[in-house]
Protein backbone atom coordinates (compact mmCIF):
# COMPACT_ATOMS: atom_id res chain seq x y z
CA UNK A 1 0.00 0.00 0.00
CA UNK A 2 1.21 3.48 -0.86
CA UNK A 3 3.01 5.40 1.92
CA UNK A 4 3.22 2.40 4.17
CA UNK A 5 6.03 0.24 2.85
CA UNK A 6 8.46 3.16 2.70
CA UNK A 7 8.07 3.86 6.38
CA UNK A 8 8.76 0.24 7.27
CA UNK A 9 12.10 0.19 5.49
CA UNK A 10 14.62 -1.77 7.55
CA UNK A 11 17.80 -0.14 6.26
CA UNK A 12 16.47 3.36 6.95
CA UNK A 13 15.49 2.28 10.46
CA UNK A 14 18.98 0.90 11.08
CA UNK A 15 20.57 4.09 9.80
CA UNK A 16 18.37 6.27 11.98
CA UNK A 17 19.10 4.18 15.07
CA UNK A 18 22.85 4.41 14.39
CA UNK A 19 22.60 8.17 14.03
CA UNK A 20 20.73 8.46 17.34
CA UNK A 21 23.35 6.35 19.10
CA UNK A 22 26.10 8.54 17.67
CA UNK A 23 24.48 11.81 18.66
CA UNK A 24 23.43 10.89 22.20
CA UNK A 25 26.11 11.93 24.70
CA UNK A 26 24.12 10.36 27.57
CA UNK A 27 21.13 8.13 28.12
CA UNK A 28 17.88 10.06 27.55
CA UNK A 29 14.48 8.96 28.84
CA UNK A 30 11.56 9.40 26.45
CA UNK A 31 7.91 8.41 26.72
CA UNK A 32 5.42 7.55 24.01
CA UNK A 33 1.75 8.01 24.90
CA UNK A 34 0.22 5.88 22.21
CA UNK A 35 -0.56 2.18 22.30
CA UNK A 36 0.06 1.84 18.56
CA UNK A 37 3.55 3.24 18.98
CA UNK A 38 4.18 1.01 22.02
CA UNK A 39 3.17 -2.00 19.94
CA UNK A 40 5.54 -1.06 17.09
CA UNK A 41 8.43 -0.25 19.43
CA UNK A 42 8.24 -3.59 21.23
CA UNK A 43 7.34 -5.72 18.20
CA UNK A 44 10.16 -4.31 16.05
CA UNK A 45 12.57 -4.10 18.97
CA UNK A 46 13.20 -0.40 18.27
CA UNK A 47 14.13 0.22 21.90
CA UNK A 48 16.80 -2.48 21.61
CA UNK A 49 18.18 -0.89 18.42
CA UNK A 50 18.82 2.27 20.42
CA UNK A 51 21.15 0.59 22.87
CA UNK A 52 22.15 2.87 25.73
CA UNK A 53 21.23 6.06 23.93
CA UNK A 54 17.54 6.17 24.82
CA UNK A 55 15.25 4.48 27.31
CA UNK A 56 11.64 4.33 26.15
CA UNK A 57 8.95 4.42 28.84
CA UNK A 58 5.56 3.25 27.62
CA UNK A 59 3.01 5.77 28.88
CA UNK A 60 -0.77 5.50 29.31
CA UNK A 61 -1.40 5.52 25.56
CA UNK A 62 -3.96 2.76 25.33
CA UNK A 63 -7.55 3.96 25.88
CA UNK A 64 -8.69 0.39 26.48
CA UNK A 65 -6.16 0.08 29.30
CA UNK A 66 -7.10 3.30 31.09
CA UNK A 67 -10.89 2.97 30.88
CA UNK A 68 -11.85 2.92 34.58
CA UNK A 69 -13.16 -0.29 36.10
CA UNK A 70 -16.40 1.51 37.05
CA UNK A 71 -17.16 2.16 33.38
CA UNK A 72 -16.36 -1.46 32.45
CA UNK A 73 -18.75 -2.63 35.18
CA UNK A 74 -21.44 -0.28 33.86
CA UNK A 75 -20.91 -1.72 30.38
CA UNK A 76 -21.32 -5.22 31.81
CA UNK A 77 -24.56 -4.19 33.55
CA UNK A 78 -26.02 -2.71 30.37
CA UNK A 79 -24.95 -5.66 28.22
CA UNK A 80 -26.69 -8.06 30.63
CA UNK A 81 -30.06 -6.30 30.36
CA UNK A 82 -32.70 -7.81 28.12
CA UNK A 83 -33.80 -5.49 25.31
CA UNK A 84 -30.38 -3.86 24.98
CA UNK A 85 -27.95 -4.46 22.15
CA UNK A 86 -24.58 -3.42 23.54
CA UNK A 87 -22.12 -2.37 20.83
CA UNK A 88 -18.41 -1.79 21.19
CA UNK A 89 -15.07 -1.75 19.41
CA UNK A 90 -13.68 -5.28 19.54
CA UNK A 91 -10.77 -4.56 21.85
CA UNK A 92 -13.07 -3.75 24.82
CA UNK A 93 -14.62 -7.23 24.93
CA UNK A 94 -11.93 -8.96 26.96
CA UNK A 95 -11.16 -6.16 29.39
CA UNK A 96 -11.76 -7.59 32.87
CA UNK A 97 -14.49 -5.97 34.93
CA UNK A 98 -15.01 -6.77 38.61
CA UNK A 99 -16.60 -10.18 37.91
CA UNK A 100 -16.31 -10.95 34.23
CA UNK A 101 -15.89 -9.38 30.78
CA UNK A 102 -18.19 -8.52 27.86
CA UNK A 103 -17.25 -11.72 26.06
CA UNK A 104 -18.54 -13.78 28.99
CA UNK A 105 -21.75 -11.73 29.07
CA UNK A 106 -22.22 -12.61 25.41
CA UNK A 107 -21.59 -16.29 26.12
CA UNK A 108 -24.36 -16.11 28.73
CA UNK A 109 -26.77 -14.77 26.13
CA UNK A 110 -26.22 -11.01 26.34
CA UNK A 111 -26.54 -9.14 23.06
CA UNK A 112 -22.99 -7.84 22.66
CA UNK A 113 -22.02 -6.82 19.17
CA UNK A 114 -18.67 -5.64 17.80
CA UNK A 115 -18.86 -2.68 15.43
CA UNK A 116 -16.14 -1.16 13.25
CA UNK A 117 -17.57 2.36 13.43
CA UNK A 118 -19.99 4.14 15.80
CA UNK A 119 -22.05 4.92 12.69
CA UNK A 120 -22.57 1.16 12.33
CA UNK A 121 -24.00 1.12 15.88
CA UNK A 122 -26.37 3.94 14.93
CA UNK A 123 -27.42 2.04 11.81
CA UNK A 124 -28.14 -0.99 13.98
CA UNK A 125 -30.44 1.18 16.11
CA UNK A 126 -32.26 2.46 13.02
CA UNK A 127 -32.79 -1.13 11.83
CA UNK A 128 -33.93 -2.39 15.25
CA UNK A 129 -36.46 0.21 16.45
CA UNK A 130 -37.84 -2.14 19.12
CA UNK A 131 -34.44 -2.56 20.82
CA UNK A 132 -32.22 -0.12 22.68
CA UNK A 133 -28.75 0.13 21.15
CA UNK A 134 -25.95 1.36 23.41
CA UNK A 135 -22.49 2.19 22.06
CA UNK A 136 -19.43 2.10 24.34
CA UNK A 137 -17.81 5.44 23.43
CA UNK A 138 -14.20 5.08 24.52
CA UNK A 139 -10.99 6.42 23.09
CA UNK A 140 -8.69 9.41 22.80
CA UNK A 141 -9.17 12.55 20.70
CA UNK A 142 -8.67 10.45 17.55
CA UNK A 143 -11.90 8.56 18.16
CA UNK A 144 -13.94 11.39 19.71
CA UNK A 145 -14.95 12.94 16.35
CA UNK A 146 -16.44 9.63 15.19
CA UNK A 147 -18.37 9.19 18.42
CA UNK A 148 -19.47 12.82 18.41
CA UNK A 149 -20.82 12.38 14.89
CA UNK A 150 -22.83 9.29 15.90
CA UNK A 151 -24.54 11.34 18.64
CA UNK A 152 -25.07 14.31 16.33
CA UNK A 153 -26.57 12.08 13.62
CA UNK A 154 -28.86 10.34 16.12
CA UNK A 155 -30.02 13.80 17.22
CA UNK A 156 -30.45 15.00 13.62
CA UNK A 157 -32.32 11.91 12.46
CA UNK A 158 -34.37 11.67 15.68
CA UNK A 159 -33.19 8.17 16.58
CA UNK A 160 -34.65 7.57 20.05
CA UNK A 161 -33.29 4.09 20.75
CA UNK A 162 -29.59 4.98 20.51
CA UNK A 163 -27.39 6.05 23.39
CA UNK A 164 -23.72 6.08 24.39
CA UNK A 165 -21.79 5.02 27.47
CA UNK A 166 -19.02 7.62 27.41
CA UNK A 167 -15.52 7.10 28.76
CA UNK A 168 -13.40 9.40 26.65
CA UNK A 169 -9.97 10.60 27.75
CA UNK A 170 -7.65 13.30 26.41
CA UNK A 171 -3.87 13.06 26.23
CA UNK A 172 -2.38 16.45 27.23
CA UNK A 173 -3.70 16.40 30.84
CA UNK A 174 -2.12 12.95 31.32
CA UNK A 175 1.24 14.28 30.07
CA UNK A 176 0.96 17.18 32.51
CA UNK A 177 0.16 14.78 35.35
CA UNK A 178 3.18 12.60 34.52
CA UNK A 179 5.55 15.58 34.27
CA UNK A 180 4.22 17.03 37.52
CA UNK A 181 4.83 13.79 39.45
CA UNK A 182 7.82 14.20 41.82
CA UNK A 183 9.07 10.78 40.69
CA UNK A 184 8.93 11.69 37.01
CA UNK A 185 11.85 10.50 34.86
CA UNK A 186 10.52 11.55 31.44
CA UNK A 187 12.71 14.07 29.60
CA UNK A 188 10.87 14.18 26.31
CA UNK A 189 7.66 12.95 24.67
CA UNK A 190 6.59 11.43 21.42
CA UNK A 191 3.07 12.82 20.96
CA UNK A 192 0.58 10.46 19.34
CA UNK A 193 0.32 11.21 15.64
CA UNK A 194 -3.34 10.47 15.15
CA UNK A 195 -4.48 12.33 18.25
CA UNK A 196 -2.66 15.33 16.74
CA UNK A 197 -4.16 14.66 13.32
CA UNK A 198 -7.46 15.72 14.88
CA UNK A 199 -6.31 18.19 17.53
CA UNK A 200 -3.13 19.69 16.04
CA UNK A 201 -0.36 20.56 18.48
CA UNK A 202 -1.21 23.98 19.93
CA UNK A 203 -2.13 22.40 23.28
CA UNK A 204 1.36 20.90 23.61
CA UNK A 205 3.24 24.17 23.29
CA UNK A 206 2.55 25.40 26.86
CA UNK A 207 3.44 21.92 28.22
CA UNK A 208 6.81 21.89 26.40
CA UNK A 209 7.56 25.41 27.65
CA UNK A 210 6.43 24.87 31.26
CA UNK A 211 8.25 21.58 31.86
CA UNK A 212 11.10 22.27 29.43
CA UNK A 213 10.63 19.01 27.51
CA UNK A 214 10.73 18.45 23.75
CA UNK A 215 7.47 17.06 22.39
CA UNK A 216 7.62 15.45 18.96
CA UNK A 217 4.40 14.75 17.05
CA UNK A 218 5.21 11.29 15.69
CA UNK A 219 3.70 8.76 13.29
CA UNK A 220 3.32 5.01 13.73
CA UNK A 221 5.65 3.21 11.40
CA UNK A 222 9.11 2.14 12.62
CA UNK A 223 10.83 4.84 10.59
CA UNK A 224 8.40 7.49 11.89
CA UNK A 225 9.07 6.50 15.49
CA UNK A 226 12.85 6.44 15.09
CA UNK A 227 12.74 9.80 13.36
CA UNK A 228 10.61 11.16 16.22
CA UNK A 229 13.14 9.85 18.74
CA UNK A 230 15.96 11.35 16.68
CA UNK A 231 14.32 14.79 16.71
CA UNK A 232 13.78 14.55 20.49
CA UNK A 233 17.41 13.54 21.13
CA UNK A 234 18.65 16.39 18.93
CA UNK A 235 16.61 18.88 20.95
CA UNK A 236 17.77 17.41 24.26
CA UNK A 237 21.40 17.50 23.17
CA UNK A 238 21.01 21.14 22.12
CA UNK A 239 19.11 22.09 25.28
CA UNK A 240 15.95 22.95 23.34
CA UNK A 241 12.38 22.14 24.35
CA UNK A 242 9.94 22.74 21.54
CA UNK A 243 7.03 21.06 19.86
CA UNK A 244 8.21 19.61 16.56
CA UNK A 245 6.21 17.73 13.94
CA UNK A 246 7.66 14.51 12.51
CA UNK A 247 4.31 13.35 11.07
CA UNK A 248 4.13 16.15 8.51
CA UNK A 249 2.28 14.11 5.93
CA UNK A 250 -0.84 13.85 8.12
CA UNK A 251 -0.72 16.52 10.85
CA UNK A 252 -1.16 20.28 10.67
CA UNK A 253 -0.73 22.71 13.55
CA UNK A 254 -4.45 23.43 13.82
CA UNK A 255 -5.46 19.78 13.33
CA UNK A 256 -8.71 18.94 11.52
CA UNK A 257 -10.86 21.90 12.47
CA UNK A 258 -14.35 20.57 11.54
CA UNK A 259 -13.67 17.50 13.70
CA UNK A 260 -12.52 19.59 16.68
CA UNK A 261 -15.57 21.80 16.29
CA UNK A 262 -18.10 18.97 16.46
CA UNK A 263 -16.29 17.33 19.39
CA UNK A 264 -16.57 20.63 21.30
CA UNK A 265 -20.22 20.94 20.37
CA UNK A 266 -21.17 17.46 21.65
CA UNK A 267 -18.73 16.95 24.54
CA UNK A 268 -17.38 18.97 27.45
CA UNK A 269 -14.21 18.51 29.50
CA UNK A 270 -14.65 16.79 32.87
CA UNK A 271 -12.43 15.26 35.55
CA UNK A 272 -11.88 11.61 34.68
CA UNK A 273 -10.45 8.62 36.48
CA UNK A 274 -7.78 6.68 34.54
CA UNK A 275 -7.53 3.01 35.39
CA UNK A 276 -4.31 2.37 37.25
CA UNK A 277 -3.51 6.07 37.58
CA UNK A 278 -6.40 7.74 39.36
CA UNK A 279 -8.30 10.91 38.68
CA UNK A 280 -6.73 13.48 36.36
CA UNK A 281 -8.39 16.91 36.35
CA UNK A 282 -10.20 17.88 33.14
CA UNK A 283 -8.87 14.84 31.30
CA UNK A 284 -12.13 13.33 30.10
CA UNK A 285 -14.98 14.12 27.76
CA UNK A 286 -18.64 13.78 28.74
CA UNK A 287 -21.81 14.63 26.82
CA UNK A 288 -22.97 18.22 27.10
CA UNK A 289 -26.33 18.78 28.75
CA UNK A 290 -28.04 19.44 25.40
CA UNK A 291 -27.23 15.85 24.44
CA UNK A 292 -28.02 14.24 27.82
CA UNK A 293 -30.86 12.33 26.12
CA UNK A 294 -28.19 10.16 24.53
CA UNK A 295 -26.39 9.41 27.80
CA UNK A 296 -26.85 5.70 28.53
CA UNK A 297 -25.99 6.20 32.22
CA UNK A 298 -28.96 8.55 32.62
CA UNK A 299 -31.29 6.66 30.31
CA UNK A 300 -30.86 3.38 32.19
CA UNK A 301 -30.41 4.91 35.65
CA UNK A 302 -26.92 3.59 36.36
CA UNK A 303 -25.80 4.94 39.71
CA UNK A 304 -22.42 5.17 41.38
CA UNK A 305 -20.49 1.92 41.40
CA UNK A 306 -17.84 1.03 43.96
CA UNK A 307 -15.05 -1.19 42.77
CA UNK A 308 -11.82 -2.73 43.99
CA UNK A 309 -8.87 -3.46 41.70
CA UNK A 310 -6.77 -6.61 41.87
CA UNK A 311 -4.10 -6.03 44.52
CA UNK A 312 -1.62 -8.11 42.54
CA UNK A 313 -1.80 -6.02 39.36
CA UNK A 314 0.71 -3.17 39.04
CA UNK A 315 -0.79 -1.68 35.88
CA UNK A 316 -0.64 1.79 37.42
CA UNK A 317 3.13 1.61 37.96
CA UNK A 318 3.57 0.33 34.39
CA UNK A 319 1.39 3.10 32.92
CA UNK A 320 3.27 5.78 34.85
CA UNK A 321 6.60 4.34 33.72
CA UNK A 322 7.74 3.40 37.25
CA UNK A 323 8.35 -0.23 36.26
CA UNK A 324 8.60 -2.22 33.04
CA UNK A 325 5.86 -4.84 32.56
CA UNK A 326 8.13 -7.81 33.32
CA UNK A 327 9.09 -6.28 36.67
CA UNK A 328 5.56 -6.99 37.96
CA UNK A 329 5.46 -10.24 39.97
CA UNK A 330 2.24 -11.32 38.27
CA UNK A 331 3.60 -10.84 34.72
CA UNK A 332 3.53 -14.08 32.75
CA UNK A 333 2.66 -16.05 35.89
CA UNK A 334 -0.80 -15.19 37.21
CA UNK A 335 -1.34 -12.57 34.49
CA UNK A 336 -1.27 -13.55 30.79
CA UNK A 337 -3.23 -12.44 27.71
CA UNK A 338 -5.48 -15.50 28.21
CA UNK A 339 -6.12 -14.63 31.88
CA UNK A 340 -5.36 -10.94 32.29
CA UNK A 341 -5.45 -9.27 35.71
CA UNK A 342 -5.23 -5.77 34.28
CA UNK A 343 -6.11 -4.05 31.04
CA UNK A 344 -2.52 -3.54 29.73
CA UNK A 345 -2.34 -7.33 29.35
CA UNK A 346 -5.62 -7.43 27.38
CA UNK A 347 -5.22 -5.03 24.55
CA UNK A 348 -2.51 -5.76 22.01
CA UNK A 349 -1.63 -2.08 22.45
CA UNK A 350 -1.09 -2.48 26.17
CA UNK A 351 2.54 -2.49 27.27
CA UNK A 352 2.16 -5.77 29.21
CA UNK A 353 0.63 -7.66 26.27
CA UNK A 354 3.25 -6.26 23.90
CA UNK A 355 6.05 -7.45 26.19
CA UNK A 356 4.39 -10.82 26.60
CA UNK A 357 3.57 -11.39 22.92
CA UNK A 358 7.00 -10.39 21.66
CA UNK A 359 8.96 -12.56 24.05
CA UNK A 360 10.29 -9.93 26.43
CA UNK A 361 9.28 -12.10 29.35
CA UNK A 362 11.74 -14.83 28.41
CA UNK A 363 14.58 -12.44 29.12
CA UNK A 364 13.29 -11.80 32.62
CA UNK A 365 12.63 -15.40 33.41
CA UNK A 366 16.17 -16.39 32.60
CA UNK A 367 17.52 -13.32 34.34
CA UNK A 368 15.40 -13.97 37.41
CA UNK A 369 16.12 -17.70 37.53
Amino acid sequence: MKYLAEYRDGSIAQALAAQIRREATRRWVLMEVCGGQTHTIVKQGLDELLGDAVEMIHGPGCPVCVTPLEQIDKALQLASRPGIIFTSFGDMLRVPGSDCDLLQIRARGGAVQIVYSPLDALELAIRNPDRQVVFFAVGFETTAPANAMAVWRAHQLGVKNFSVLVSHVTVPPAMTAILGDPQNRVQGFLAAGHVCTVMGWEEYEPIAARFRVPIIVTGFEPVDILEGIHLAVRQLEAGRHEVENQYVRAVRREGTVPARTLVEQIFQLVDRKWRGIGEIPMSGLALREEFADFDAELRFGLGEIHVAESSECRAGDVLRGQIKPHQCAAFGRTCTPEHPLGAPMVSSEGACAAYYNYGRFRVTQSAGA
Binding site: M1, K2, Y3, L4, E6, Y7, D9, S11, I12, Q14, A15, L16, A17, A18, Q19, R21, C34, G35, G36, L49, C62, P63, V64, F89, D91, Y116, S117, P118, L119, D120, V138, G139, F140, T142, T143, P145, A146, M149, R153, Q156, L157, A192, G193, H194, V195, T197, V198, F220, V223, E227, V248, R249, A250, V251, T256, P258, A259, L262, S347, E349
Partner: protein, 100 residues
Protein backbone atom coordinates in the same frame (compact mmCIF):
# COMPACT_ATOMS: atom_id res chain seq x y z
CA UNK B 1 -7.05 1.96 19.15
CA UNK B 2 -6.02 5.11 17.31
CA UNK B 3 -5.13 3.04 14.27
CA UNK B 4 -5.41 5.09 11.09
CA UNK B 5 -5.19 3.49 7.68
CA UNK B 6 -4.38 5.43 4.52
CA UNK B 7 -6.74 4.76 1.63
CA UNK B 8 -7.54 6.30 -1.74
CA UNK B 9 -10.89 8.00 -2.23
CA UNK B 10 -12.66 6.42 -5.22
CA UNK B 11 -15.89 8.41 -5.26
CA UNK B 12 -17.86 10.78 -3.07
CA UNK B 13 -21.60 10.85 -2.32
CA UNK B 14 -24.07 11.89 0.36
CA UNK B 15 -26.11 9.80 2.76
CA UNK B 16 -29.09 11.76 4.14
CA UNK B 17 -27.00 14.94 4.06
CA UNK B 18 -23.78 13.37 5.40
CA UNK B 19 -20.71 13.55 3.09
CA UNK B 20 -19.57 9.97 2.47
CA UNK B 21 -17.17 8.28 0.07
CA UNK B 22 -15.92 4.92 -1.09
CA UNK B 23 -12.30 4.45 -0.04
CA UNK B 24 -9.95 1.80 -1.38
CA UNK B 25 -7.51 0.23 1.09
CA UNK B 26 -5.18 -1.77 -1.11
CA UNK B 27 -8.09 -3.57 -2.79
CA UNK B 28 -10.58 -3.58 0.10
CA UNK B 29 -13.29 -0.95 -0.36
CA UNK B 30 -15.45 0.60 2.31
CA UNK B 31 -17.89 3.43 2.84
CA UNK B 32 -16.20 6.16 4.85
CA UNK B 33 -17.59 9.36 6.36
CA UNK B 34 -15.84 12.33 4.72
CA UNK B 35 -17.64 15.06 6.73
CA UNK B 36 -14.47 16.29 8.44
CA UNK B 37 -12.40 16.67 5.27
CA UNK B 38 -15.18 17.39 2.75
CA UNK B 39 -13.78 20.81 1.80
CA UNK B 40 -10.31 19.44 1.04
CA UNK B 41 -10.75 16.02 -0.49
CA UNK B 42 -11.38 14.87 -4.05
CA UNK B 43 -11.47 11.45 -5.68
CA UNK B 44 -7.91 10.23 -6.14
CA UNK B 45 -6.68 11.80 -2.90
CA UNK B 46 -5.37 9.74 0.01
CA UNK B 47 -7.20 10.01 3.33
CA UNK B 48 -6.24 8.74 6.75
CA UNK B 49 -9.21 6.69 7.99
CA UNK B 50 -10.05 5.85 11.61
CA UNK B 51 -13.17 3.89 12.68
CA UNK B 52 -14.96 4.76 9.45
CA UNK B 53 -14.03 8.45 9.39
CA UNK B 54 -11.50 10.31 7.28
CA UNK B 55 -9.62 12.38 9.87
CA UNK B 56 -6.96 13.87 7.60
CA UNK B 57 -5.91 14.21 3.98
CA UNK B 58 -2.45 12.80 3.39
CA UNK B 59 -0.05 15.27 1.87
CA UNK B 60 1.47 13.22 -0.95
CA UNK B 61 4.26 15.64 -1.75
CA UNK B 62 5.28 15.69 1.91
CA UNK B 63 5.13 11.91 2.19
CA UNK B 64 7.47 11.63 -0.80
CA UNK B 65 9.85 14.36 0.44
CA UNK B 66 10.21 12.78 3.90
CA UNK B 67 10.89 9.40 2.41
CA UNK B 68 13.49 10.68 -0.04
CA UNK B 69 15.32 12.53 2.72
CA UNK B 70 15.38 9.41 4.87
CA UNK B 71 16.45 7.24 2.00
CA UNK B 72 19.33 9.58 1.19
CA UNK B 73 20.45 9.37 4.80
CA UNK B 74 20.35 5.59 4.74
CA UNK B 75 22.54 5.51 1.61
CA UNK B 76 24.95 7.85 3.33
CA UNK B 77 25.04 5.49 6.26
CA UNK B 78 25.81 2.59 3.98
CA UNK B 79 28.69 4.47 2.37
CA UNK B 80 30.07 5.29 5.78
CA UNK B 81 29.85 1.69 6.83
CA UNK B 82 31.67 0.60 3.68
CA UNK B 83 34.39 3.12 4.39
CA UNK B 84 34.72 1.99 7.99
CA UNK B 85 34.83 -1.65 6.97
CA UNK B 86 37.47 -0.94 4.36
CA UNK B 87 39.55 0.97 6.89
CA UNK B 88 39.13 -1.77 9.50
CA UNK B 89 40.29 -4.49 7.12
CA UNK B 90 43.27 -2.35 6.12
CA UNK B 91 44.13 -2.04 9.79
CA UNK B 92 43.90 -5.79 10.09
CA UNK B 93 40.96 -5.66 12.50
CA UNK B 94 37.97 -7.92 12.19
CA UNK B 95 35.20 -5.97 10.52
CA UNK B 96 31.74 -6.06 12.09
CA UNK B 97 28.56 -6.04 10.05
CA UNK B 98 26.47 -2.96 9.59
CA UNK B 99 24.85 -1.54 12.70
CA UNK B 100 23.15 -4.25 14.72
Amino acid sequence: MCLGIPGRVIEVHEDRGLPMGVVDFGGVRRDVCLAYVADRIRPGDYALVHVGFAISVIDEAEARRTFEALEAMSQLEELEWMRETAQASLDGLSAGGPVA
